[in-house]
């Protein structure tokens, strides 16, 4: 407990004599010790839960490891084999479409709903919760199961279409042309968490800018483009980076909707799903580990590109 009281003591006066300096150094060392102590739980978690598996995975990526026998070192062979794997290419294609189409659409919807909620309507807290709900449920197995049933040939979607006289019999999840789009739709529907962040960002834009703009006769569209977008750009950037990172790792939806196959015809073979199939279905954990590291490189590259271009459009106002 003394460590806490020690931490809260603020030393502003400069030490003058060597004696005082030594005392001050001793106190600082004690403060540091306390700091490390508080850091410890997180540090242990990092080392055991993140760093340990991280290093193990890097090692496994250079081995032939079938889960049942000890791994054998094979150098870069797993990485070389990836160059000649048509399903890997397919899984990259599926995942890129999902990220490049799904993330911007989701952010647009999130921003639109956030602006609507920012109008200061009655019962805002209620609506905010309702709109946020899907993003808490969206990655769950239950929702994915419901999604599958909704988009089956006799599912809810077709039943509603039939109510309007459209003779819909398409099985949206069973046709390679549509299956991925049902999952992208599910992704868009889970716009809650970027929406909440947008809402917080919108609240920080001072109302006087809009007032001044209205006085000058700026239209709503002009206000949106000239005030909202620039002032919100750091938030948009934040959401974009995080959502891209998340979307690259999408797994549950594809796994449940396709029964773990990535089908029909590999049309929903997400990268992580293929990684899982290789590792746990085909006993090729070394290859799966190598795939995981390729994904790290891809995500890092996307993030770097994002940061590079951010200086052309993100406005920090400082």
């Amino acid at each position: 407990m003394s460590a806490i009281s020690e931490l809260s003591t603020v030393h502003r006066v400069k030490a003058k004599t060597p004696e005082e300096k030594r005392l001050r150094a001793k106190e600082a060392a004690r403060d540091n010790k306390a700091g490390y102590l508080f850091l410890l739980p997180w540090l242990i978690g990092l080392v055991l839960i993140v760093a340990g598996p991280l290093i193990a995975s890097l090692y496994l990526s250079f081995t032939n490891y079938n889960l049942l026998q000890a791994p054998q070192w094979i150098g870069l062979e797993n990485y070389a084999r990836m160059l000649d794997d048509p399903r890997l290419l397919q899984s990259l294609k599926v995942t890129f479409i999902y990220v490049i189409v799904g993330v911007p659409l989701q952010l647009i919807v999130a921003l639109a709903i956030a602006m609507l909620l920012n109008e200061g309507m009655k019962g805002l807290a209620f609506y905010r919760s309702v709109f946020y709900l899907p993003s808490m449920l969206g990655a769950s197995v239950a929702i994915a199961l419901i999604w599958r049933q909704m988009f089956e040939s006799d599912g809810l979607v077709n039943q509603v279409l039939r109510l309007f006289g459209i003779p819909a019999t398409t099985s949206w999840i069973a046709d390679p042309k549509y299956a991925l789009w049902t999952i992208i739709l599910l992704h868009i529907w889970t716009f809650g968490s970027p929406m909440v962040i947008f809402l917080a960002g919108l609240r920080q834009i001072p109302g006087m800018y809009y007032e001044a703009a209205s006085v000058d006769g700026a239209s709503h569209w002009a206000q949106f483009r000239k005030i909202t977008l620039p002032l919100l750009s750091p938030i948009i950037f934040f959401n974009l980076v995080l959502q891209i990172i998340n979307a690259f790792q999408a797994f549950t939806q594809a796994f449940v909707v396709s029964n773990g196959t990535g089908g029909p015809s590999d049309s929903t073979l997400f990268y992580t799903l293929y990684l899982y199939q290789r590792g746990f279905g085909q006993f090729q954990m070394g290859y799966a580990a190598a795939m995981a590291w390729l994904l790290v490189v891809i995500i890092a590259a996307f993030t770097a590109i994002n940061f590079f271009f951010s200086k052309y459009w993100v406005f920090y106002g400082d």
Partner: protein, 440 residues
Amino acid sequence: MAINRRQFLIGAGGLAAAASTIGLSACAPGAPSGSGGGASGGGTNLALAWWGNPTRNKNTEAEIQAFQQANPNITLAGQPGDFAGYWDKLATQTAGGQAPDIIQMDMAYIAEYGNRGALLDLEKDGADTSKFIEGTVDSGRINGQLVGVNAGINSAVIVANPKIFEKAKMDLPDDKTWTWDQLSDVAAEVASKAGVPFGLVYLFGGDPMFGAYLRQNGKELFTEKDVGFEPADAQAWFDLMMKFQKAGGIGTPQQISEEGSPGGGKGIDQSAIVLGKAALQYQNSNQLEALNAASGESLKLLRAPSLAGKATERKAWYKASMLWSASAKTKNPEAAVAWINWFANTKEAVDIDKAERGIPPNAELQEYIRPKLSPAQQEVAKFIVDIKPELASTPIAPPPGGGKLAEIMFRYESDVLFGKASTAEAAQKFVDEVKSNLQV
């Protein structure tokens, strides 16, 4: 450019998210064996894993009770599951050194585990198969070691719903003389006359039917270390499928895709024949009881067709519907084998299981249980005896890496059905992919 706090936070978030990806595939090898086996109070606790259906789950729980009464020193903790998720779980458990002591095993995966030293040599610890009928023991042998004991005899069949044939005003086909082409005709006719989406379902998604077709053509699914057929054989099979499809017997590509492959996620209680959407369905014979229970119908068993139109030339075989294996790491091999022997050779066990896991391979028990079986199971038992003259050699277990053949086949069939590949392209890729899995 100096990094401000906001950018730092984003970067840190990104790193954390990226790290979680790596965690997905990182599984430390060689963790110590944990589950079961530990002696407690002089007794032994063993974990027992199986996949199944509601009937089998109930049976197995009752069997565990009966076994524990007969062996008060052993307690069994059941781990039921469904087929689709069972193998992922078993792989993960085994990798973590937490494999269940007693494992219900499938022919598709027995070499995978057996060849890699994950399964116990059961004979060494006293597994008794002395009363098993011919051709039912060796399917559990990998590299000369008995790593799986047949838990029931099975045969790949086509199940028919007589009510739908009645509705179509058609007789059930003569399964002793029908050819693959005649099956196609029957399926198309019954589908259009009875107005059901599927004349026939699942036939092309399951590897046993492909295996039957190959054997009639003098090939096999697998040889000792390799694929047992050429791309041309696979192409002939895909061409046959397209012929069936064009004739109107197996539904549209979307319907086939939605129905999936057998064991691909839909339980059999949700399969097309149960829901009244199909007249014929590929299945294993032991599933007749469960299908009848789920559908409320009295379904009939039909033989797989032959090229020659003679059932005696259809190269049938007895398949182990499932096997009992034990983990090589179990701390109490004798207790694990005690369960296997109890299940295979005692009247108490077969009184409960009857023929749900297939017809007992133990000849004496086969005789003993027949009068006690339900009408559906009696039909299965009769079928298994009837097809004896039609049997050819028993196919070998798929080599390691071969367990996914059916899944791969169904994927390339979908490519063909949706016009994404010709049958020739798909066949070549199919064979290449199965081969590449075997090499690893």
